[in-house]
Point group: C2
DNA sequence: TCAATAACTCAAGAATCATTGAGATAACTC
DNA sequence: GAGTTATCTCAATGATTCTTGAGTTATTGA
């Protein structure tokens, strides 16, 4: 993750509709959701508006898309999300884990990190 | 962490100078740095520009400030940063940790989360 | 108290971004 | 092929944001 990628990702996440889309797709899991289904979940946003935001998110690497018949299916790019966090928190404790342990423990609320499985 | 706070935080992080400030303060640790020292690290940015960005970051809850003589010392608000990540990744695996373990493991690169120490 | 230092506030101009609506492209069904 | 559905593209408009420069407030030391 480079600074420019991180800036793009944060800019993408700083817009209400886009942040909601990402969170929706994070909970939707690897199967993802079609653009139309996402649009309906966003108070019935117009298709051009959805397209604008989805392409913005894809450009930022936060979501991935694949075509399925007439629909385009979007899913969250978890490795980018993780890379973003790693970029932000890099060197957060400088060898003094007690400084950021409380913060890091909060991240365990969803998953139990497993050592040795990451190649990010 | 509520949606509006998260949007403010991401907006704050989506600007080059502000992102650099946050990362600088994350590595600086709890002691923090004076506004002037931060400004010098930002290619000698003008004081009004620093003030604009620092107050933006403080508004977003990403940094904290305290006065020390003539200087104002800023430090990173790690609990807000952690809350932001937690907000973004909430329900990321829906009971299937294998989905997001690779992502979460990346976050362990700095610190080893310790169970039972968090009150976030 | 006066001068110097550190940082903040304010207003104006330039740049960037989101929404809308009309139209285009791609894929499926009959 | 014709019609329908799903999504994308483009241009215009209105809103928001960043930078600059001048001026202000707070703190320290002589």
């Amino acid at each position: 993750m480079h600074e420019k990628q991180a800036l793009n990702a944060f800019a993408a996440l700083s817009q209400e509709t886009r942040l909601r889309i990402v969170r929706l797709l994070v909970t939707a899991g690897p199967e993802g959701m079609s653009a139309g289904a996402i649009g309906e979940a966003m108070d019935g946003a117009s298709s051009s508006r959805m397209s604008f935001h989805l392409s913005h998110l894809e450009q930022a690497g936060l979501v991935e898309s694949r075509r399925d018949g007439r629909s385009i299916i979007y899913s969250a790019a978890l490795t980018t999300l993780a890379g973003l966090v790693e970029f932000l928190m890099r060197d957060c404790c400088q060898g003094h884990p007690e400084v950021c342990n409380p913060a890091m423990a909060a991240l365990s609320s969803c998953c139990e990190p497993t050592k040795g499985t990451s190649h990010v």
